[in-house]
């Protein structure tokens, strides 16, 4: 059952990265594709109805982690205290920027919130990437299962490299979303940006993979086959984008992101918080899980709820889709 719980949390976090990933990516590429105030507003409107629901995947995954693996939740959140609070502040700034921008008709007001939106989106992706890098790298767990990661330690070269890779990947993800969802000059610029970002992502992917092999060695298990999926998705992405198949490009980008997360999850499994060597182990799904009764009821209510969300989300949200024409 712990394994199902691990898969469930992995699934919810993957949904979060796929969905909020595109709206974060849109935020991070806005200065590159949107030149005028109207275009910036358009790119924000393209994610307007969706971003909040997307972000709920993070809140829900946090709640599920709390219920299913309380020890891992407690240890990681308090251990990364400052980093987490900074993430919270950035999430708040970003939410305020998107929600309040439209409520006051002033050019300066818009410019201010555009800058906040861009900065917070970019920094959030970077921090998420750094956090993932640290999970793969291992954290300095103490004997009680708690740790205190100071900020300088979290910014180790490997983690920063994963962070930069995350920025490029989600920028590409956001760009494919913008191409799919909007039309106009900004969408054209986004279209031209795809192959250029693609090259950056490819180079960083190879670099991060090499660094990961250097960090963790190579196990020669099925996990090592996942990169084939990633590479296929990445190739399909470029192919679809050049062929102007917008939905396919976004789908390929989603598959690429999901394959990376699958590999990360498979790498740290069965740990939720792998310890930094020389300490062996870490907090695993088996010692972080509560009693079978609690696990069972949390699994049932969460899975039923997630299925319901997936059903009404897929019924309702596509009705909100369709091209948004962004003119100045």
């Amino acid at each position: 059952m712990s394994v199902i719980a691990f898969i469930l949390i992995g699934f919810m976090l993957t949904m979060y990265v796929l969905l909020d990933g595109y709206d974060l990516g849109v935020g991070a590429i806005t200065p590159l594709v949107a030149r005028t105030g109207g275009e910036r507003e358009g790119s924000m409107r393209s994610i307007g109805p969706f971003w909040n629901g997307n972000e709920v995947w993070l809140i829900a995954a946090g709640g599920a982690l709390f219920a299913l693996f309380p020890k891992a939740y407690a240890s990681s959140f308090s251990g990364f205290y400052l980093a987490f609070i900074i993430v919270l502040w950035l999430l708040m700034f970003r939410g305020v920027a998107m929600e309040l921008r439209a409520h006051f008709p002033s050019e300066l007001w818009h410019q201010f919130w555009d800058a906040c939106f861009f900065g917070s989106s970019l920094l959030l992706i970077l921090l998420y990437g750094v956090a993932l890098g640290n999970l793969l790298h291992g954290v300095p767990l103490g004997p009680q299962g708690y740790f205190s990661g100071d900020l300088a330690e979290l910014l180790n070269p490997y983690a920063v490299m994963v962070g930069i890779f995350a920025v490029a990947t989600l920028m590409l993800h956001g760009t494919t979303f913008l191409v799919m969802r909007t039309q106009g000059p900004a969408a054209e610029r986004a279209r031209r940006l795809v192959p250029r970002l693609w090259r950056v992502v490819l180079v960083l992917y190879v670099a991060v993979s090499a660094a990961t092999i250097f960090e963790r060695g190579i196990g020669l298990t099925w996990i090592d086959l996942i990169p084939l999926l990633s590479i296929a998705a990445l190739a399909w992405l470029l192919f679809a984008a050049l062929g102007k198949r917008e939905y396919a490009a976004f789908g390929a980008s989603s598959l690429f992101v999901a394959s990376l997360l699958l590999q990360a999850a498979a790498t740290i499994y069965p740990y939720l918080l792998p310890a930094l060597p020389p300490r062996p182990g870490g907090i695993s799904i088996f010692d972080a899980a509560p009693s079978p009764v609690a696990l069972m009821s949390a699994l049932v209510v969460t899975i039923v709820g997630v299925i319901a969300v997936l059903i009404y989300g897929t019924l309702v949200l596509p009705q909100m889709a369709g091209k948004l024409s962004v003119e100045d």
Partner: protein, 443 residues
């Protein structure tokens, strides 16, 4: 500073600021839904009202969402020992809030705000109702979490000291939780009623938007009247019974009762002094406290002296918060009753004094709700889980007070900015008025 104090200050500050917004969300959501549906059915005035209140609702919701995100994560950041010990229980209602309430609210609010012209009108109406449902569900799950910390049920403690869930149904169906939730919900509906009536009264008094304004006053007064009674009886009364039964020391602090007393009087006012164990300059109503607590004018009510000092909550804060809640509750119930009476006699709009009272009374339900939460949370100290875990044992072992103070200051600065922005944007919409807002929304 002691790290426990720093963590508590941060939680208290962030939750109290945050809670201002869910009050409005829960209280306004039914109005938004009703106006939206009436508007779709062809009532042009209701459509204007829907555009106006949806706009206010959206600004309020945005601040509520961004200030709500830190709440769930603060359990882990600042209260790691508490989370590790009790996550198996309280993580469940919190996870359910995310999965069952937040998705509903955020997805359908997206449809409501952006869907006009894209989706069928029926879906817009359904979205407004689902946002309403989501906001109330969210309130329920949060109150159920708190209620468990006030009165734990459905759990067992393992030999290693971890609290295990034995029955999720017991946690979610606990009568303690339900009465607490209904009380909270009635408080929010009083606030919603007062906001709608108060803003309506403002327009009537400024002689603007008269047709809509009267509609707001009518609807707001009726809701405020009904729920200002329900918030006192039965829900407030039943919460009082639960406190008497399960947390008698909180009752003693609320009432400023330092010594156990037979025929205990009720102190209407008075200044408690926990140093000298005395209530200074009280005005008493004889025997009433005994009656309220036990239904018997001669019953013995235990005072603070009956308990060990280490179990005593901060008396002054609990006492004043309780008296502020009850005092304001009495005042707003009186205003709402008077306004409802004049509304029934069809003379409300000839009584400017009453319209002024409705307008100026808008903050009262908010202050009363916040004060009520202070009674609940400060009054249960020194426990974080009543009778099971002390607050001082719940903090994160690796987070120093310096860190918590830094982040508290950061939150304070950020929330000050958010508060200013919120007031500015909402006051601006109110100054524009429903007609202009609706016209702008249609454009």
């Amino acid at each position: 500073m002691d790290v426990v104090i720093a963590d508590r200050l941060q939680f208290a500050f962030t939750i109290m600021f945050h809670y201002l917004f869910p009050i409005t969300t829960m209280g306004l959501a039914p109005f938004v839904a009703l106006y939206t549906i009436e508007g779709i059915r062809g009532d042009a005035d209701a459509a204007k009202a829907a555009a106006f209140w949806t706009k206010i609702f959206a600004i309020n919701f945005a601040i509520g969402v961004v200030t709500g995100i830190p709440m769930e994560f603060q359990f882990g950041t600042n209260w790691a020992a508490f989370s590790a010990a009790s996550g198996a229980v309280i993580g469940q209602p919190l996870a359910m809030e995310g999965v069952y309430a937040f998705f509903l609210e955020s997805i359908f609010l997206g449809v409501l705000l952006y869907g006009k012209g894209r989706v069928a009108p029926q879906l817009l109406g359904a979205s407004a109702v689902l946002v309403w449902l989501g906001s109330w569900l969210s309130g329920f799950f949060i109150v159920a979490t708190d209620a468990w910390m006030q009165h734990p049920v459905g759990y067992a403690i393992t030999p290693s000291g971890v609290i295990e869930l034995t029955s999720l149904a017991a946690v979610l169906l606990s009568p303690f939780a339900w009465w607490q939730f209904l009380h909270v919900l009635c408080g929010a509906l009083v606030a919603g009623g007062f906001v709608v009536a108060g803003i309506g009264a403002y327009y009537v008094l400024s002689k603007r938007e008269l047709a809509l304004a009267r509609r707001f006053v009518d609807a707001g007064v009726i809701v405020a009247f009904i729920f200002s009674i329900l918030v006192i009886f039965p829900t407030g009364d039943r919460n009082g019974d639960d406190v008497t039964k399960y947390q008698p020391i909180k009752l003693a602090a609320m009432e400023g009762l330092f010594r156990s007393t037979k025929d205990a009087p009720l102190a209407i006012i008075g200044m408690p002094d926990s140093h000298d164990h005395d209530l200074i300059d009280p005005i008493y109503v004889p025997d009433i406290l005994s009656f309220l607590a036990y239904g018997n004018f001669n019953a013995n009510v235990k005072g603070l002296n009956a308990y060990a000092d280490t179990l005593e909550p901060p008396v002054e804060l609990t006492y004043y918060a309780y008296h502020v809640m009850v005092g304001l509750g009495t005042i707003f119930a009186a205003i709402a009753m008077l306004a409802a009476f004049y509304l029934w006699r069809k003379r409300l709009f000839e009584e400017p004094a009453l319209l002024w009272a409705l307008m100026l009374g808008m903050p009262f339900p908010y202050i009363a709700s916040e004060a009520g939460w202070i009674v609940t949370e400060v009054g249960r100290q020194p426990w974080i889980i009543y009778g099971l875990m002390r607050t001082s044992a719940g903090v994160s072992p690796t987070v120093a007070s310096g860190e918590a103070i830094f982040t508290l200051i950061g939150f304070a600065g950020m929330y000050f900015l958010l508060g200013v922005l919120f007031l500015y944007l909402v006051l601006r919409e109110i100054a524009l008025g429903p007609s202009a807002v609706a016209e702008h929304a249609a454009a």
